[in-house]
Symmetry: C2
Subunit: 354 residues, 2 copies
């Protein structure tokens, strides 16, 4: 496997509304040092592929308004590899665009497509899994999804059901996907995890650029045609002007619906490297280092008294004192303050809009 | 009574440490619009004397570092009437200084001395009481204290016991002071309010400038001598230089200890105009307008959900959302945030120092 055909696509166009006010439309979650570790989620995603994908093969697809943030946070990535969507159209148009763009640069490219705001615990294990998948897709027209071994009946994730009876001949760790399952209710989730053929859908996909383009041609021609017709301008100075005009014509649809659920040659590679989509404050607090009272804190000068099981994220405040709270979120950013019970976090989007 | 001999002395040198972080050493409580009414405590104190004391007879004694704040908040007061202490020496040196300064300007001056950070409900009644007291002290060498009719066994205030058997012949509402009582414990406070001769000590005094100077000469000569020796420079360009050198030599002592407890001709004028020294968040919340859930809020954009009996003072934040709190203080100022139970507010000074 030639390393220089490995490419990484980081989708970084989300707005992270569930983490308001830490995350805002102007500066969403993926660009924030959420964990207080010194690196933003976008940077951690980039770091995770060190030694697997060279920086010149890393592609970021994001909104035009985040261009400067991306450039500042990942100066290693060439400016021409930062692709700018003029509007949000979910993941299928995003992936079609970047696939055609990469195809023009390297028609033998082999791609990992990943969200920019997930968390992975064991980087070494993660890289081993990614390398297996890249080897597999470099030798076949398969699409590989990474399936996480579920540790609890999570209702916030989609699930992948695998056909465990027929592992791939090329890699016995790979199984054909039987079906994709939407986020289940708790009863269904409990049923899923009683079986060993259900996995959390990580949203990380591995496939060669020719596989993507062929899949787009077959399953999403109305999207594919827009970019295929644009081949000659991709990588030229006219690219952005064309994208600004043509991209909004794409239907807004996820790659899961548009491609993955319809594709024939689709496999799941079960893995257990410790993964979270960090979709809620509750999932974030689980990942963070906690004090003896179960509090997770990010902020330059935060003092807690008689406070338990709280998450305090107040990076912009000079000094914070919290006394007497339990199971709360305290989040401050950009002169905006939220204090609410962790149990009520599904209302945060409403709070931010009121 | 010639109006133009009425003078007002506002003592505005405190640091308001119990209201951190709303109040800070750099910008203490008396300079803040604590109630969210559009005027600071200092301005409200000034406003309260409209029609009784002309602005050119208003004197502010404060710390040098608050000079610009005072000038900005009370531009009506002449710059030469803002006296600047180089260090804090409690109230006796403060009053001796301003008394000598006023004496040089108006030897028939009749003074009201008041803190800058108290709250008074009924301004009309307050002015009637003040006018009675000024009339009384313009015709005698008496010192008049305003005694508040107690509404509860408050342990945070000092008390004045009056000799109710002998009202003044000049004004039957005035009674001689029997004794001053320090802040009592609850049991003692309950005993006090069972009798009708105990009053809260408001810290507001009325006396003529000659009465003050004579009392200082008799009871606090070590303080008086410093300013009496300085007579010729008071009101000249050399005043500040002398004050900076001599004022620190004063002992730090309250006017209560130095003068009032020793004075012979001292009266209390009982009053009931609604008064609070606003010494605690708990007393502040009692004074403020509250919503149906008992919350008092100051801030440009504060939204509360399932929140009860809280005080939220977040004037610097652009937006605040609080959900699920009860009986808490949420105070933000100058990039510093405090969240704590109202019941723990006596620990705020410790919180601010930690």
């Amino acid at each position: 496997m030639a390393t220089n055909h490995n490419h990484l696509v980081i989708m970084a166009g989300g707005i992270g509304s569930r983490f308001w006010p830490m995350s805002t439309t102007e500066f969403p979650k993926q660009f924030i040092d959420v964990m207080g570790c010194g690196r933003t989620f976008l940077q951690l995603t980039f770091d995770r592929f060190e030694g697997v994908v060279p920086p010149e093969n890393v592609w970021i697809v994001t909104s035009q308004k985040y261009k400067d943030i991306v450039r500042e946070q990942l100066p290693e990535v060439p400016e021409t590899n930062v692709l700018l969507e003029p509007c949000r159209r979910n993941t299928a148009p995003c992936i079609a665009y970047v696939a055609w763009r990469i195809k023009m640069a390297d028609r033998n490219a082999n791609l990992v497509v990943t969200p920019s705001d997930h968390f992975i615990v064991n980087q070494k294990h993660f890289q081993e899994v990614i390398k297996q998948a890249l080897t597999f897709t470099s030798q076949s027209d398969a699409i590989v999804t990474l399936g996480m071994k579920p540790s609890r009946p999570e209702t916030g994730y989609g699930y992948i059901q695998a056909d465990m009876s027929s592992p791939s001949l090329k890699n016995k760790n790979m199984f054909r996907v039987d079906s994709f399952k939407e986020k289940p209710n708790l009863e269904t989730a409990k049923e899923y995890i009683r079986h060993d053929d259900f996995f959390w859908n990580s949203g990380i996909f591995i496939w060669s650029v020719s596989t993507i383009v062929n899949a787009m041609r077959i399953y999403a021609p109305e999207i594919n045609n827009i970019f295929e017709n644009m081949q000659q301008v991709l990588g030229t100075k006219d690219e952005q002007e064309w994208i600004d005009r043509e991209f909004p014509k794409c239907p807004s649809i996820s790659v899961d619906y548009a491609i993955l659920e319809k594709a024939e040659e689709i496999f799941v590679l079960p893995a257990d490297f410790g993964w979270s989509d960090v979709g809620t404050w509750g999932s974030l607090i689980q990942l963070m280092k906690k004090d003896a009272n179960g509090n997770a804190v990010v902020g330059p000068n935060v003092k807690l008294f008689e406070t338990t099981n709280c998450i305090v994220h107040t990076a912009m405040e000079k000094k914070v004192v919290v006394q007497g709270l339990d199971n709360c979120i305290v989040a401050e950013n950009n002169d905006t303050l939220l204090i609410c019970k962790l149990s009520e976090e599904q209302r945060i989007k409403q709070f931010s809009e009121d």
